[in-house]
Symmetry: C3
Subunit: 390 residues, 3 copies
């Protein structure tokens, strides 16, 4: 059926409607600590439709070098139905969809844990996201608390695509007005504690000249440190990119908001961390993940310093483990650390800080070490990488 | 058939062709006041093909929160054939297509009137635009005059998609060379004085968790004022966005041109007003139009101050009227004012200026009121909004 | 077939893996002069899939006015299977694909020669690129040398799409570590010395109102100088655009790298020349190529000064030759110079420098003339342009 409306000239109304300031309302999004209850499930707004072009643009913007995310012909030759969205894009979009409920009132994003990518996202797929509040740690009435949440995204067939946990620091509401409530309807939380990843890979390693000669599975051994040559200067572009992935936290694009913050967060808009991670991953990609066919996941991810427009970021990787994969002769698993620095080249940072660069920042106090102010990010990744074709 | 050309090495020619400065020409676009004749019809150049990805990018860039423009699955569930382009994108593109003929020589864009959206624009559609000069008001030989024009866009099936009127301030040509003439061919002007809007809506309100709990038809009552929480800092991105929608006025992207202007327009490139409107509409969207299924139109739209890169814009809405729609039980019409401010939060602007914020700027002198320098935009909108599902 | 992996919680590993600085490696890309051997062939990494949306975005970003690149309906009416990618995009992408092997260690891009566009690139096509080293000119052990290379791109059917030569200035490796070697595998170099261009044109000139009245074949005569009215201020957007086309040279997006250079190249990141060329071509397009149906090629292209964020560029064209095309009554060939200037309008540059603006910069010393510091680019183009419909 359809709806039919006769369009008539639009009468000017505003002068005739009395202006009553008492009828003003101030909708607020995000949740204060008091509003987060363990067990609570949020269905996040909007959803996000993926397209080939926007997937390509994301991969290129963040300096991706893996042809899997840049070249449809290459992706299909490996067994994928079409170009898959990069793990970085799926992660950024899912996290951003949750901001309006989870973290638009957050003071700090404390960490990413047990991020797992469960199936490919293809052009035309639409993701929706859900969050379950797992835990709320109060630290007293005058201190912000910490909440641990689990977020998942599903595609239009309700199949799980991504799941992860985050810890977020959030303040108490205090005298502030409450935020817009979540819908009353109780929704189920889709999640899988023993997920099985099924990839449509051909099983044979496709040989081709579109990747370099030094980035096959056998080229990585535990302990290897790879210093990525190029850096990337972040410009004010980050404000637009924040909303392009759907992130609604004003700290990232509203200078009136960011300058009104107190303490270390006050000043220019802070680059949304997911974008920083994506740039670092892209800078590392031609040295470590050019021949990856899947990113299994991340854990222990921390933004140890904020980034701002004008900062130049650089990256280093350190190999942590290599494993065979049962039933998949052509591939192996590589675990690695990814470290980000800013306003110093990766090579200079390694020279300056040596081994300390790879020590988790939040363990440094106990170890009697100084934190590294030039370091902005640390995470552990786990990738499925092709073996060198015979 | 086809054309075959044997490619041979390209000979270097420039050194052999005499350089004759007398053969220089300076093509100029736009129209001076003397060149605009009531009754004249311009067929605008280029046309504009819409794609899913570019529609999604536009919606996200301008912070759209209505899933209708972000989520193909949601759009189809409501009865649309595919993701529709947002009203903001259709308006921005149509206006921009007309700039080369209508306003590339304009000094100021005075207002938008009776903007009507007549049918959905889908991926793959190509819009072309036409303008008819309705009126030319001379204010003496040494003063710029005002022209009133009517512009429409049609799709590839020549069906009307959008129509509106604009008033523009334009200077006399004087001693300046004439602009590039419009083609001789007389073209018909497609227009519809009694348009009927037919929307492919299912007629039932689709219930889903992708929108918030407070933005259904029943949540709005005349007089309600809604202060939108977040602002958006505009960066130099606006220069690229101007041409992305097809607007060719150099005031928006050519610093040599903008700094050579006299008076208040002189300085940094001015943000194209259509982009400012789109950001304001986006900032308002999660509070007022998340559940809208159609934007019927706008009227009395004025850019009361220019915006520049670096400005942070914020928005407020005021509900003007709510109406039932005959034969469409699931929907209602909501009319509202949209007000934009800059470099002050919407909340602070309401506190500072109170009711005066909602009074049309061009009526203030007669009412003995001061104009509000922080206010950048005002318009009245009319939206078709879903009723809360039972 | 498929690969199945049981996902288990990702153990934190980094603290248990000893940090051995001796296992650090520093992969380097590009080639030093010593590493470039005439006869050598590089297969370039990644490849690049074209999409309608990204082609439209490229055309609009660079201010293209030819509807052929903006309007699918128009492109099909002329005989093309679909919207073709603009010559500028195909050139920029092909050149950028080669940077990692050809020029990521280059000091300067000296010139473009015999650029030939051999067939349309359509949405869904994937280009790969190859380079053959033609010549290496050493100028002594303490001076950078010059290499001449030939690059081609092919589509997914291995059909040649573009071929051209470049000269690049590259330094000796000296004590620096070698770059990542090219794969051992010898690859054939696809190339065509007597290419035949076959265009799917209808052969009849389609009349329509989407282009202006003054840009048909008959409107151009040798010696004509066309001063393009608008300029474009380049913003920091150029850093993102560089990687969007796939160019990996850090000089364009890594401020730590650019400021560490010595001499005239030291400072802010330099705009990748391909982008500058694309903007100049776009600025010229509504005056000279609105009615073009094919860009046959370019030659003698030189970036005579670098451009930086904040610069405003302008363009002039000078017609060099007009020719009939055997067997294609509806079209003619127009050769023209394209000249770019910065931080001066094109009109002011013509007034200031007169005929010297069109004299090749590298011939000026011999002619006893000064180089023009405001001039940034010069090239000769050859276009197939529609004749005015009867």
């Amino acid at each position: 059926m359809s709806v039919t409306i006769q369009l008539t000239p639009q009468a000017e109304l505003s002068a005739d409607i009395p202006i009553a300031l008492g009828k003003a309302r101030h909708p607020q999004y995000g949740r204060y600590l008091d509003e987060l209850k363990p067990g609570q499930v949020f269905e996040h707004p909007r959803g996000f439709t993926f397209t080939t072009s926007n997937m390509l643009t994301f991969a290129r913007t963040f300096m991706q070098a893996n042809p899997l995310y840049l070249n449809s012909q290459y992706a299909r030759a490996h067994g994928f139905d079409d170009l898959p969205a990069s793990a970085q894009m799926v992660f950024n979009v899912t996290l951003s969809l949750g901001v309006q409920n989870d973290s638009e009132k957050a003071i700090a994003n404390l960490g990413y844990y047990q991020v797992q990518f469960l199936r490919p996202v293809y052009p035309g797929d639409t993701l929706r996201a859900f969050t379950k509040v797992l835990e709320r740690k109060d630290r007293g009435p005058d201190k912000p608390g910490i909440t641990r949440i689990r977020t998942v995204s599903v595609n239009q067939r309700d199949e799980l695509v991504l799941q992860y946990e985050r810890k977020i620091m959030v303040g108490w509401r205090g005298a502030r007005p409450p935020t817009t409530p979540a819908p009353d309807a109780t929704v189920a939380f889709p999640s899988d504690d023993t997920p099985q990843l099924q990839l449509p890979l051909t099983g044979e390693t496709v040989s081709c000249g579109l990747t370099g000669p030094n980035t096959w599975f056998a080229d990585f051994a535990p302990g290897d440190i790879i210093v990525h040559a190029n850096g990337r200067t972040i410009t004010e572009e980050h404000m637009a990119l924040t909303y392009l992935v759907g992130n609604s936290h004003p700290l990232h694009f509203d200078r009136l908001f960011s300058t009104a913050q107190s303490g270390k967060m006050s000043g220019e808009p802070i680059v949304y961390g997911g974008l920083v991670f994506a740039w670092l991953e892209g800078l590392a990609s031609r040295d470590v993940s050019e021949n990856a066919v899947w990113e299994l996941g991340f854990t222990e991810g921390y933004h140890t310093q904020p980034a701002f427009a004008g900062d130049t970021v650089g990256a280093l990787s350190r190999i942590l483990a290599v494993e065979d994969v049962a039933g998949a002769d052509g591939y192996g698993l590589v675990s690695m650390q990814l470290i980000g620095v800013k306003n110093i080249t990766a090579a200079a940072a390694l020279e300056k800080y040596g081994a300390d660069l790879f020590v988790k920042e939040d363990t440094k106090r106990d170890a009697g070490k100084d934190k590294i102010a030039d370091k902005i990010f640390e995470i552990e990744r786990r990738l499925l990488i092709k073996r060198r074709p015979r």
